[in-house]
Amino acid sequence: MSSPLDISQDIKHTLLVTIRHDIRAERRSRGWTQQQLAERVGLARQSIIALEKGRFDPTLETALRLAAVFDRTVDDLFQLEEE
Protein backbone atom coordinates (compact mmCIF):
# COMPACT_ATOMS: atom_id res chain seq x y z
CA MET A 1 0.00 0.00 0.00
CA SER A 2 1.32 3.44 -0.88
CA SER A 3 2.12 5.87 1.91
CA PRO A 4 1.10 9.55 1.54
CA LEU A 5 4.74 10.31 0.80
CA ASP A 6 4.76 7.81 -2.06
CA ILE A 7 1.58 9.34 -3.47
CA SER A 8 3.05 12.85 -3.37
CA GLN A 9 6.14 11.54 -5.11
CA ASP A 10 3.89 10.01 -7.78
CA ILE A 11 2.13 13.35 -8.31
CA LYS A 12 5.45 15.16 -8.52
CA HIS A 13 6.63 12.56 -11.00
CA THR A 14 3.50 13.03 -13.11
CA LEU A 15 3.92 16.81 -13.19
CA LEU A 16 7.46 16.57 -14.52
CA VAL A 17 6.38 15.15 -17.84
CA THR A 18 6.25 17.06 -21.10
CA ILE A 19 4.78 16.20 -24.47
CA ARG A 20 7.43 15.69 -27.13
CA HIS A 21 6.70 15.92 -30.84
CA ASP A 22 8.25 17.07 -34.07
CA ILE A 23 5.36 18.64 -35.90
CA ARG A 24 7.73 21.04 -37.66
CA ALA A 25 9.71 18.21 -39.26
CA GLU A 26 6.48 16.46 -40.30
CA ARG A 27 5.19 19.67 -41.88
CA ARG A 28 8.44 20.47 -43.65
CA SER A 29 8.79 16.94 -44.99
CA ARG A 30 5.50 17.53 -46.84
CA GLY A 31 6.52 20.97 -48.05
CA TRP A 32 3.64 22.71 -46.31
CA THR A 33 3.75 26.23 -44.90
CA GLN A 34 2.47 26.93 -41.38
CA GLN A 35 -0.57 28.63 -42.94
CA GLN A 36 -1.34 25.56 -45.06
CA LEU A 37 -1.10 23.24 -42.06
CA ALA A 38 -3.25 25.64 -40.02
CA GLU A 39 -5.98 25.57 -42.69
CA ARG A 40 -5.83 21.76 -42.85
CA VAL A 41 -6.23 21.18 -39.10
CA GLY A 42 -8.48 24.18 -38.32
CA LEU A 43 -6.01 26.10 -36.19
CA ALA A 44 -4.67 29.65 -36.37
CA ARG A 45 -1.20 30.14 -37.86
CA GLN A 46 0.08 31.53 -34.54
CA SER A 47 -1.13 28.33 -32.86
CA ILE A 48 0.96 26.27 -35.28
CA ILE A 49 3.96 28.49 -34.46
CA ALA A 50 3.32 28.04 -30.71
CA LEU A 51 2.84 24.29 -31.18
CA GLU A 52 6.11 23.91 -33.08
CA LYS A 53 7.95 25.90 -30.43
CA GLY A 54 6.50 23.70 -27.67
CA ARG A 55 4.57 26.57 -26.08
CA PHE A 56 1.15 25.04 -26.70
CA ASP A 57 -0.09 21.53 -25.99
CA PRO A 58 -3.00 20.65 -28.27
CA THR A 59 -6.24 19.07 -27.10
CA LEU A 60 -6.95 15.45 -27.93
CA GLU A 61 -9.23 16.58 -30.78
CA THR A 62 -6.45 18.64 -32.36
CA ALA A 63 -3.92 15.83 -31.83
CA LEU A 64 -6.27 13.48 -33.69
CA ARG A 65 -6.70 16.01 -36.51
CA LEU A 66 -2.93 16.46 -36.79
CA ALA A 67 -2.48 12.69 -36.92
CA ALA A 68 -5.12 12.49 -39.65
CA VAL A 69 -3.60 15.19 -41.87
CA PHE A 70 -0.13 13.65 -41.50
CA ASP A 71 -1.58 10.16 -42.02
CA ARG A 72 0.05 8.99 -38.80
CA THR A 73 -1.22 7.80 -35.43
CA VAL A 74 -1.27 10.06 -32.37
CA ASP A 75 1.31 7.74 -30.78
CA ASP A 76 3.62 8.31 -33.73
CA LEU A 77 3.34 12.09 -33.41
CA PHE A 78 3.32 12.64 -29.65
CA GLN A 79 5.33 11.03 -26.89
CA LEU A 80 5.51 11.68 -23.17
CA GLU A 81 8.93 12.71 -22.05
CA GLU A 82 10.06 12.75 -18.43
CA GLU A 83 12.09 15.79 -17.49
Partner: protein, 130 residues
Protein backbone atom coordinates in the same frame (compact mmCIF):
# COMPACT_ATOMS: atom_id res chain seq x y z
CA UNK B 1 4.98 37.61 -51.00
CA UNK B 2 5.37 35.00 -48.27
CA UNK B 3 3.35 31.82 -48.69
CA UNK B 4 2.53 32.08 -45.01
CA UNK B 5 0.62 35.32 -45.48
CA UNK B 6 -3.09 35.52 -46.12
CA UNK B 7 -3.79 37.12 -49.52
CA UNK B 8 -6.13 40.06 -49.08
CA UNK B 9 -7.58 39.80 -52.61
CA UNK B 10 -9.08 36.41 -51.66
CA UNK B 11 -11.08 38.02 -48.89
CA UNK B 12 -12.72 41.00 -50.63
CA UNK B 13 -16.26 40.21 -49.34
CA UNK B 14 -14.92 40.24 -45.77
CA UNK B 15 -13.01 43.49 -46.32
CA UNK B 16 -15.87 45.29 -48.09
CA UNK B 17 -18.50 44.35 -45.49
CA UNK B 18 -16.17 45.42 -42.67
CA UNK B 19 -15.43 48.70 -44.41
CA UNK B 20 -19.18 49.39 -44.62
CA UNK B 21 -19.51 48.43 -40.94
CA UNK B 22 -16.66 50.82 -40.03
CA UNK B 23 -18.32 53.57 -42.10
CA UNK B 24 -21.61 53.12 -40.23
CA UNK B 25 -19.83 53.19 -36.86
CA UNK B 26 -17.84 56.31 -37.77
CA UNK B 27 -20.85 58.11 -39.26
CA UNK B 28 -21.49 59.48 -35.79
CA UNK B 29 -18.31 61.59 -36.01
CA UNK B 30 -19.44 63.22 -39.24
CA UNK B 31 -16.98 64.36 -41.94
CA UNK B 32 -14.24 65.24 -39.47
CA UNK B 33 -10.61 64.29 -39.00
CA UNK B 34 -11.57 62.21 -35.96
CA UNK B 35 -14.15 60.36 -38.08
CA UNK B 36 -11.61 59.61 -40.80
CA UNK B 37 -9.04 58.48 -38.21
CA UNK B 38 -11.56 56.20 -36.52
CA UNK B 39 -12.56 54.74 -39.90
CA UNK B 40 -8.94 54.02 -40.82
CA UNK B 41 -8.27 52.58 -37.36
CA UNK B 42 -11.23 50.22 -37.60
CA UNK B 43 -10.36 49.14 -41.15
CA UNK B 44 -6.74 48.60 -40.11
CA UNK B 45 -7.95 46.46 -37.21
CA UNK B 46 -10.01 44.27 -39.53
CA UNK B 47 -7.03 43.80 -41.90
CA UNK B 48 -4.76 43.10 -38.91
CA UNK B 49 -7.16 40.42 -37.62
CA UNK B 50 -7.14 38.76 -41.04
CA UNK B 51 -3.36 38.80 -41.50
CA UNK B 52 -2.16 38.38 -37.90
CA UNK B 53 -2.48 34.60 -37.77
CA UNK B 54 -4.33 34.86 -34.44
CA UNK B 55 -7.48 33.31 -35.90
CA UNK B 56 -8.25 30.30 -38.00
CA UNK B 57 -8.95 31.58 -41.53
CA UNK B 58 -11.46 29.63 -43.60
CA UNK B 59 -11.40 30.75 -47.27
CA UNK B 60 -14.64 28.84 -47.89
CA UNK B 61 -16.55 31.33 -45.73
CA UNK B 62 -15.78 34.64 -47.52
CA UNK B 63 -18.09 36.79 -45.36
CA UNK B 64 -16.99 35.40 -41.99
CA UNK B 65 -13.63 33.70 -42.55
CA UNK B 66 -12.25 34.23 -39.03
CA UNK B 67 -12.87 31.94 -36.10
CA UNK B 68 -11.11 31.25 -32.81
CA UNK B 69 -9.35 27.95 -32.35
CA UNK B 70 -8.83 26.36 -28.92
CA UNK B 71 -5.86 28.59 -28.14
CA UNK B 72 -7.78 31.69 -29.23
CA UNK B 73 -10.73 30.72 -27.02
CA UNK B 74 -8.37 30.23 -24.09
CA UNK B 75 -6.79 33.64 -24.74
CA UNK B 76 -10.23 35.25 -24.92
CA UNK B 77 -11.27 33.63 -21.63
CA UNK B 78 -8.10 34.85 -19.93
CA UNK B 79 -8.58 38.34 -21.37
CA UNK B 80 -12.20 38.50 -20.17
CA UNK B 81 -11.17 37.38 -16.69
CA UNK B 82 -8.38 39.97 -16.44
CA UNK B 83 -10.61 42.70 -17.92
CA UNK B 84 -13.28 42.14 -15.28
CA UNK B 85 -10.71 41.99 -12.48
CA UNK B 86 -8.80 45.10 -13.57
CA UNK B 87 -11.98 47.01 -14.46
CA UNK B 88 -13.47 46.36 -11.02
CA UNK B 89 -10.16 47.20 -9.36
CA UNK B 90 -9.95 50.49 -11.28
CA UNK B 91 -13.56 51.35 -10.44
CA UNK B 92 -13.04 50.59 -6.73
CA UNK B 93 -9.81 52.59 -6.70
CA UNK B 94 -11.36 55.68 -8.31
CA UNK B 95 -14.60 55.37 -6.35
CA UNK B 96 -13.31 54.66 -2.84
CA UNK B 97 -9.54 55.18 -2.57
CA UNK B 98 -9.09 58.23 -4.79
CA UNK B 99 -12.53 59.89 -4.82
CA UNK B 100 -10.97 63.34 -5.08
CA UNK B 101 -9.04 62.55 -8.26
CA UNK B 102 -10.35 64.56 -11.19
CA UNK B 103 -10.76 62.06 -14.05
CA UNK B 104 -13.10 64.09 -16.19
CA UNK B 105 -15.47 61.13 -16.13
CA UNK B 106 -17.24 58.87 -13.60
CA UNK B 107 -15.41 56.07 -11.76
CA UNK B 108 -17.69 53.53 -13.47
CA UNK B 109 -16.83 54.84 -16.91
CA UNK B 110 -13.11 54.87 -16.08
CA UNK B 111 -13.36 51.29 -14.80
CA UNK B 112 -15.12 50.26 -18.02
CA UNK B 113 -12.39 51.87 -20.12
CA UNK B 114 -9.65 50.15 -18.10
CA UNK B 115 -11.49 46.85 -18.54
CA UNK B 116 -11.83 47.31 -22.32
CA UNK B 117 -8.18 48.27 -22.68
CA UNK B 118 -7.13 45.30 -20.54
CA UNK B 119 -9.25 42.94 -22.66
CA UNK B 120 -7.48 43.86 -25.90
CA UNK B 121 -4.00 44.16 -24.33
CA UNK B 122 -4.16 40.81 -22.52
CA UNK B 123 -5.59 39.06 -25.57
CA UNK B 124 -2.87 40.54 -27.78
CA UNK B 125 -0.22 39.36 -25.32
CA UNK B 126 -1.53 35.80 -25.12
CA UNK B 127 -2.13 35.43 -28.87
CA UNK B 128 1.18 36.92 -29.94
CA UNK B 129 3.66 35.93 -27.24
CA UNK B 130 2.47 32.66 -25.66
Amino acid sequence: MSQNAVRLKNFLPYLLTRAVFALVICWEFGPTLAGAAAFLLLCGGFVLYLKSGWFHVDPNRPLAPLSRDERGQWAQYQALLRAVQLGLLAWATFEFLLPGLSLGTSAGHAGFQVGMLSYFAVQFYYLQFT
